[in-house]
Amino acid sequence: MENLTVGAAAEWIRSVILLILGNELLTDVVMKFVGLGACIGVILTAAIVLTYAERKVCAFMQVRLGPNRVGGRFGLLQPIADMLKLMSKEDIIPDGCDRIVWALSPMLLFVPSALIYGLFPFDEGVVFADVNVGVFLLLAISSQSVLPFLMGGYASNSKYAFIGGMRTVAQMLSYEAPMVFSLLGVVMITGSMRMTDIVAAQAENVWFVLLQPIAFIIFIISATAETNRTPFDLVEDESEIVAGPFAEYSGMRWALFFLAEYANLLSISILTTTFFLGGWHGPFLPGVFWFWMKVLFMVFVFMWFRWTFPRTRIDQMLSFSWKVLLPLALVNMMFTGIGVYVWRSMM
């Protein structure tokens, strides 16, 4: 069982590279690139698996079968077919668009989505950068994805794209606040912003979903809004503004937006697992199995939300954030502070 962990796999890769290179420092450098490759690999695999999963979950909830032609009875090769289709599509550049900003937007959007994977603890000791301000850095990086949306929306020279871009800013800024305040409760109990410390604190006591149920709910809601998924998909809602900031993109550029979207979906599932569901901890099985089981469950929950709830109106969405979620998060934070103070003074 011990050999099944990701850490053991990394050790094995390291020993092989050391054998080839024969230099400790060089091996460390190469190992950093291996870690980067692993993070990128996780994202790309997630994009492939999650597009398929989303279509299947959507279909099953709508009493359909979903993809069932390409690649056998279960349509397992559907993501590959979709990918080939997207790559072979014409790259349409709209008239009068701001070329450079327009071309930069999908690439820049992918950067923060991919960057935060470096901070996730996938297993015991398997974290690319275990920073002591992990939570802070994570929120700082992930909030950068507002700008590329606005860039894409503005540069497309299209009314729908522009409205979508404006909505993104409004939505992401509104939901950033309750999300941060809900996480503060977790950070206060742990007494550390390091991601591995948060996971370790849950292993010692109980999962934070039991200690901080309100924070959990607030986090789930604002995470759904942060990733622009239904019921908060006002950024890209098909029935009102075509596809929001993506409306003028086609082919691989559009695929990059999609990649970022699924990277975000996976990363909020990972964050929920890390902050509230005890990370990689669990009995019997190796940590990485527990980690991915919890993450995939959370992915399913977010897909479940998406195919169940209707879309909110823009004013409802904003007032819900500022008038309900933010005060609730503040009250929760206050009571957590009192609780932590009482607990510490009793100890």
């Binding site: 099953f60 909830m61 009493v63 359909r64 709830f309």
Partner: protein, 180 residues
């Protein structure tokens, strides 16, 4: 309670997620048609058919073209039953009028074709023609006695003289053409 509707919705979608799916994988799986579905080709129970031509006569669009033959035993049989599907409006009158209840639809809804000629569908199968051949041979081997008109035993003044029935001409095809 706030959010009760959300929970209800999620329960419904979860039930559907694990429930039975309604999709039929069409070319591989065919949708079962209800019993009274009208469509497809006509199917005739040839062994029961008495070639009464009621179906053809009932057709409002003259979509049924029959060829009838009389055998040596003075029984009529169909040699050809052409269903002009392009003209048919699937009103079911032919089936309702069938004297022996031997006509029905095969309920196949994949009847589209590229040419108009392909819609002139011959209902009789090779088996039916084989059966016709056997029946004709059997009848020829054992022909019915010719009809001898009965002479009235005693002339009745009140009764008009009966028209003499024609002797059927053996094996002559009579074609029933729809009125153009």
């Amino acid at each position: 309670m706030f959010g009760k509707g959300l929970i209800t919705g999620m329960r419904v979608t979860l039930k559907h997620f694990f429930g039975k799916k309604e999709t039929f994988c069409y070319p591989e799986e065919k949708l079962p048609m209800p019993e009274r579905f009208r469509g497809g080709h006509l199917v005739i129970d040839y062994k029961k058919c008495i070639a009464c031509q009621l179906c053809s006569m009932a057709c409002p669009n003259q979509a049924i073209e029959l060829k009838v033959v009389t055998d040596a035993q003075r029984k009529r049989h169909l040699t050809s039953y052409i269903h002009h599907m392009g003209r048919c409006m699937f009103c079911d009158l032919c089936i309702e009028n069938c004297a022996i209840h031997g006509l029905h639809w095969d309920q196949n809804y994949e009847i589209s074709a590229y040419t108009r000629d392909a819609f002139d569908y011959e209902v009789l199968t090779d088996d039916d023609r084989q059966y016709l051949k056997e029946v004709m041979e059997a009848a020829a081997a054992n022909p019915a006695p010719p009809i001898v008109p009965k002479k009235p035993a005693a002339p009745k003044p009140a009764e008009a003289p009966k028209p003499e029935p024609k002797k059927p001409e053996e094996n002559k095809e009579t074609e029933v053409k729809p009125n153009e």
